[in-house]
Symmetry: C2
């Protein structure tokens, strides 16, 4: 395929997505929900077909250099397909953000002003490896009235094609435009560059994957990007902490699912409680197979802890590793978080209400947590019902992005002939 052919194909997909988006914007909630439920049923019914397509991807995986963990993430089983289908049913059960009256009232001159949820339009969604994301993304986009162009990893192309055929096929059965869910069938990397230029047809790009993917997309995109960067999440154990609670939370934040963005990567301990707490938490972390990399002061208390390098304090390990630092006071903790943090999720453990309040004010992160695990910064846990990612930006949406974060709004102003004086 020549580049100019590829570009034409991409432009054509985007144009069809744009047309589909303007139809989908007017689709009733009932139709969208019926599609979500029917597509969920069909995914389960055709699980064998999907698993067979997935087997192709798995057979090719070693050729792409995938290791065992990556192959596991790529693998679809009937159980995993059922879970993805169940996710679609949950999205069907959520309130439709389109047409929702967000604010409203009557102005002194009698004009009624309503602020109403509307879709963004066309979303270009880029993701790596896990094919069940295809289901999640399509469900969230269609429910929020947005057409989506899906571009998965080359490793999961056959799985994605099988899933996409089911999802798109069901759209027409429910009076929805088939082009509302399109899959980029080529694995040509140039296609991404073409889409990122089309800000006349694509309203938002969501890259979900490693830092290099997100950096490339941010640099090239001519339309807004919903970014989901690093999560170097801190737990700060204050001098007024309940140390039993602190230990429980640190272990949960670090170990319950170490490979995700809201897992703790850095532990800060107030010097006053360090002599008691540090030996205890190091032992507990080690029981949980966590490697601790500590500051000099940590090593004075537990000599066999390895010395944390500067880079360790800034790292998102996504693994059973944690950096640790003993801080002289609250201000040093804040300063450390400002310097090394990623403005994602940071927690304090304290029983002092003033300290808690100062922490929530001073830490400029999407989620600031008091006396609970960092793992709660999550769309389901915060009540959004589902999420397409956790934004580390402040513009448009911050933190978990659910259905509402994939929308905009319009003002509807209704009068009886009012004019301005």
């Amino acid at each position: 395929m020549t580049i100019s052919n590829l570009e034409t194909q991409c432009r054509d997909m985007a144009e069809r997505a744009k047309r589909a988006a303007s139809q989908l914007a007017l689709a009733s909630t009932a139709k969208k929900n019926a599609w979500l439920r029917a597509a969920a049923d069909l995914l389960e019914k055709q699980a064998e077909t999907i698993v067979a397509a997935n087997a192709n991807d798995i057979a090719n995986a070693p050729g792409y250099g995938l290791n065992a963990a990556a192959i596991d993430r790529l693998t679809l089983t009937p159980t995993r397909i059922r879970a993805a289908a169940e996710g679609m049913r949950q999205v069907a059960a959520l309130t439709d953000p389109i047409g929702e009256v967000r604010e409203g009232g009557v102005r002194p001159n009698g004009l009624q002003v309503l602020k109403i949820g509307v879709p963004l339009g066309v979303i270009f969604f880029l993701y790596e490896s896990r094919p069940n994301v295809t289901v999640d993304a399509a469900g969230l986009c269609v429910k929020s009235g947005n057409a989506v162009i899906l571009r998965g990893g080359k490793e999961s192309l056959h799985s994605n094609e099988a899933i996409h055929a089911i999802l798109a096929g069901e759209l027409a059965n429910h009076g929805l435009p088939t082009d509302a869910v399109q899959l980029v069938a080529t694995t040509d990397r140039d296609a991404v560059g073409h889409f990122l230029k089309m800000n006349d047809r694509i309203d938002l790009v969501i890259p979900r994957g490693g830092e290099s993917l997100i950096r490339r997309v941010s640099a090239e995109a001519t339309m807004p990007v919903l970014k989901h960067y690093l999560g170097n999440c801190h737990v700060y154990v204050d001098k007024a902490a309940d140390l039993d609670m602190a230990a429980r939370i640190v272990i949960n934040a670090k170990c319950q699912r170490p490979g995700v963005c809201n897992a703790a990567e850095s532990l800060l301990v107030h010097a006053d409680v360090a002599p008691i707490f540090v030996p205890r938490i190091v032992a507990l972390l080690r029981e949980n197979h966590v490697e601790v990399r500590g500051c000099e002061a940590t090593r004075k208390l537990v000599p066999d802890v390895s010395l944390a390098a500067e880079a360790d304090h800034a790292a998102e390990f996504l693994d059973l590793v944690i950096s640790m630092k003993i801080v002289a006071d609250f201000d040093e903790a804040i300063e450390h978080i400002r310097r090394y943090g990623s403005q994602h999720t940071d927690a304090i453990i304290t029983s002092n209400i003033q300290t808690a309040r100062r922490f929530t004010l001073a830490v400029d992160s999407a989620a600031v947590v008091v006396n609970a695990s960092t793992r709660f910064n999550d769309g389901f846990e915060l009540g959004l019902g589902a999420e397409i990612g956790i934004s580390t930006d402040k513009f448009h949406a911050r933190g978990p992005c659910g259905l509402r974060e994939m929308t905009s709004y319009k003002y509807i102003i209704t009068g009886e002939g009012q004019i301005r004086g």
Copy 2:
């Protein structure tokens, strides 16, 4: 000044703005309001100083090629300074969007989740000519907790410097960081390019001026841009319109202030009412010194109307000119607005509730108006209290942008030791 010196100066300003922003984010509402009121008083008290500085700009204006209208917009009088000061007092009276609890509740596991307003950080504000915008922008930015770097037009540099000296001087008197309001003192155009590269220090750029300024900024900026593009606003007079109301609204929307973005630029008339309405509205528009450029069908009803070119239907005249088209039906009106509109403000005049509802659904504009003037799409009129512009984007903020649209939010999650299972 060499370019590298200029770049260093710009980076230094942005760095100081970033530090000021982190202090300002924690400033109390009382302090911010005290500054707004004191600065307003001082602007009035030092009106003579400002007028004298402004006289310098006016003396230089012909050299910059400014015409009489532009010089009028540049001119500051004690009355205009009083109006700007009054604007600051009005901003002081508005609710502080920082710390505001936007949503909140308790999750089933007992976690309290609050969604709290926080500032964006550092705003780079570019604007042309009118020096009172310096006052408005500084007031809105500080009240919303954001540090601002102001870059006005070269034509108003002396006026802006005089105003800035007063505003920044008062910051320190109220315990606020002086660097929260900075003015770019050089007229070197390269400075803009340097600032637009600093997405590590500047969180948002707001260009306010002509289309070419906005296009340049959008193309060069590495941070989000709050855009305020064209307003090609339509009034569609439906077959079920109250024609007296329609005439009143068309005249108001076109003539009350023709130079602004929410003024009507295009008139669509349903064919069924055209024979009665078109001759009448053309006569009324002409009484109000408006030039009408119509379609062939219009010219059959009023032969001496000039023929509208394709470009006229797409134009934002910002002047006493209107394009007119007779449409066969509702769908043709919608199609015309989709093709030529700017998604800013579009109105329908109709007494039919179904037609009104179809219009508000089908027209994808920031404000859709039923039986009222397009001129109501304005921050003050919609109850936002003040505005820094009207966004024509869907991302982050759409329509009038007041204090809240200059903010983000954070989640504060408070527990008693909750961990994830």
